[in-house]
Symmetry: C2
Subunit: 440 residues, 2 copies
């Protein structure tokens, strides 16, 4: 049978990884797919490097539009990243009737609705396994493996850079800035790490996961995003003493609210019980925990980045497209897991309306009555306390740390209580608030 012809936009690390895995395992892949998958052309800004990386095995061009307009090419793989040009290229490829594979989570989180609609209208597929959690087949698990389930929530460690930093902070007791420098030196963080450490990358991925879990459109602008830049070593230490680890989680949850249902979509540092399997995912590894009503909890673990793990997902998409290309378009796996005419409009909740548990740390004067004032404020706000830890003041100090863990409570109640606590004369400075998920 005739090989599937692939054009690659971008021959950076992932592009080079895709090229070399496809080449190394071409026999293994052909034995599975039933036909060859062949990269016939690549586009790159650095032509010399691209020629070197593809070893003269395929055409190398400077203009990516040459690839998306090449009638010989069946599938376009977009690996250049960013928004504007990437979007234009993807839309042009679709318009030309080509299937698309992309690893571009930013593009899909922002423009997925438009892109998937265009693909649907044209009868082509846009596959994006590589966009979330690298090589881990989490998109496949959610869209196909768990179709029987009403998904209740997803909680994922979906950014390797921040998980590496948090693991190092805990292991070595170092502060954020020191570990970030080390991570940059080791190649775990980029020169400009903003998207990773501010939680934006995780929010792109969580947005995609929320859409395929609940059948809602991608709505990145509604995601709540907090990174790890303000996280202090002392909170990691206190969390540990209380039996918790702090991870940057991307969370998408179906929540009961007044008048029906809402979706929580949020990325923030989160305390997790240390005994949970996902709390023990260390270094740059990724893991996604999914709760379905029939299956209960399942977890998917692996490398969330890197040339070959990402290539693994890109190539799996190529094989899937090869297989499904002959199926009736209406029988293919829908882009966002649900049929386009069966999406829902459950609203994404503002943070004030979400419900979770909280870790609160405050510095208070070491004198009688302080605890009574604090607990009165919490009781008035209907916030019930699950655990409390008061540290002895250091030698010669007149202030001490109090740490509280709350039961489930609404964010707005906690925010209001914190305002009142910070206004107390016995409380110094700001209250540190970190959300806590039991993931049970």
């Amino acid at each position: 049978m005739k090989s599937i012809k692939v054009g690659l936009l971008g021959v950076g690390n992932v592009g080079a990884g895709t090229f070399s895995v496809l080449r190394r395992n071409q026999e293994e892949i052909r034995r599975r797919a039933g036909r060859g998958i062949e990269i016939v052309a690549v586009s790159a800004r650095n032509l010399e490097r691209a020629k070197e990386r593809t070893e003269g095995q395929c055409k190398v061009v400077a203009d990516p539009f040459e690839i998306v307009n090449d009638p010989e090419i069946d599938i376009v793989v977009e690996l250049i990243g960013g928004y504007d040009t990437a979007k234009e290229l993807v839309m042009q490829a679709i318009a030309n009737g080509k299937h698309v594979v992309t690893a571009n989570k930013a593009l899909l989180a922002l423009h997925g609705t438009e892109i998937f609609a265009a693909a649907q209208a044209k009868g082509v597929m846009v596959a994006f396994e590589a966009a979330v959690a690298g090589g881990i087949p989490i998109i496949k698990a959610l869209r196909e493996g768990l179709t029987a389930n009403r998904i209740e929530w997803i909680a994922g460690i979906i950014n390797g850079t921040t998980n590496f930093i948090l693991s190092e902070m805990r292991d070595k007791g170092l502060d954020f800035a020191t570990v970030l420098k080390e991570a940059q030196r080791l190649g775990y963080a980029e020169a400009d790490p903003t998207f990773d450490i501010e939680g934006v990358d995780a929010a792109h991925k969580a947005t995609i996961l929320s859409a395929i879990a609940f059948g809602i459109p991608v709505q990145f602008d509604k995601a709540h995003i907090e990174g790890i830049t303000k996280l202090q070593a002392i909170d990691i230490k206190y969390a540990e003493q209380l039996g918790y680890r702090i991870k940057l989680l991307g969370i998408a949850r179906r929540a009961k609210v007044e008048g029906g249902e809402g979706i929580e979509l949020r990325v923030h540092p989160t305390l997790i019980p240390a005994k949970r399997l996902i709390a023990n995912v260390e270094g740059a590894m990724n893991a996604v925990l999914v709760q379905g009503d029939a299956i209960g909890a399942t977890m998917y673990y692996g490398k969330g980045a890197g040339p070959e793990p990402t290539a693994s997902a890109v190539i799996a998409d190529l094989v899937d497209i090869t297989r499904l290309a002959t199926a009736d378009p209406e029988h293919r796996v829908p882009h966002l897991a649900f049929q386009p005419n069966a999406m829902t409009d459950i609203k994404i909740l503002p943070m004030a309306d979400i419900t979770t548990c909280y870790y609160l740390r405050m510095t208070v004067a070491d004198r009688p009555g302080v605890l009574a004032e604090l607990t009165r404020i919490l009781a008035d706000g209907s916030i019930s306390i699950d655990a409390m830890m008061q540290k002895e003041p250091a030698e010669g100090e007149t202030h001490t740390d109090i740490i509280l863990l709350t039961h489930l409570t609404q964010e707005k109640n906690v925010v209001a209580a914190i305002d009142k606590i910070e206004a107390l004369s016995s409380v110094v400075g700001k209250v540190t608030k970190i959300r806590l998920e039991n993931l049970a």
Copy 2:
């Protein structure tokens, strides 16, 4: 679009779970699949119970052949278990041009080759996600999610009963027989637990995994099978002191051997470093660790049994069949992951030829020269020692325990060395041998 009509053979726990999940989530499933999936008939020995469980919503018959011969039915779900009748029904359904979904790992591990060949010839699909690790979509991950990879090895906790027993033995320091009784009382072990505790069930599943990982036929008769019935509490304790946990693993590994490659296919109690994520999978949970050359290690975790987790896998298969039914048969996912004409005949190795690490425990006289004798025998067998622990003899005892961990070595060398060690006058009784996998 017309609903897909399903006939269910057997309305035991999994059948009832499938019925109730399909009913509860019918809207969610239809929104994904694009059409309804409807159980129109079931067969059961206990007609009254079956009528109760299906709440008068479908036809209930005593003779399962009525279902496989019913022209109205598109897909037959086989949930009766066992070999003879189940095989006859599945073959008849295939002959009638019906797709089949089965959770019957025993049937596929023994007769898969014949069944898949018949399905292939008839152009129908036999889906079996529920046969391995319950609801965890591990078959899908291996057959579709990791197609880019040359799979190097798989190691799985794929029997919940034994994992529950081992977790309890470690937690509570109890012996096997005591915990087995407790597991039976709690419903984690069956009245006749032989298939579980002797490793047969895990070997059925490992056999299926080996086929789809490496493109070899199912060869249950070549699997090496050891259960947990002989495992002693003392070994779990010593393993813990050395930083290891003992799990019953199903292992399928591609191994270099003289003259090429072989496959290791084995189920046995195994020491694993306690810090590995999979070592922390407790209770009745399942987890499968897969090592691919591009992606590295990935792990899949969840409930490996139970009515609704298993139903989750059965229904995912129903949706997949609904989707792929219109694709060209040669473009569907191949039953054993590789195209039928692209299977290989890499041989499954006899145990003597496998290579792994070992935990050896022996009771020796507490006198000079014993260790010299032991280490001489090991050195002569080219077995190198990774760690050693010698316990002080108990008050008034003249014998003591020595525990050795070896580096990688071939099984036959270890067996030969154990023979020599047991012949020493300073060694009392048998040497306990447990294999050790680093899973790195």
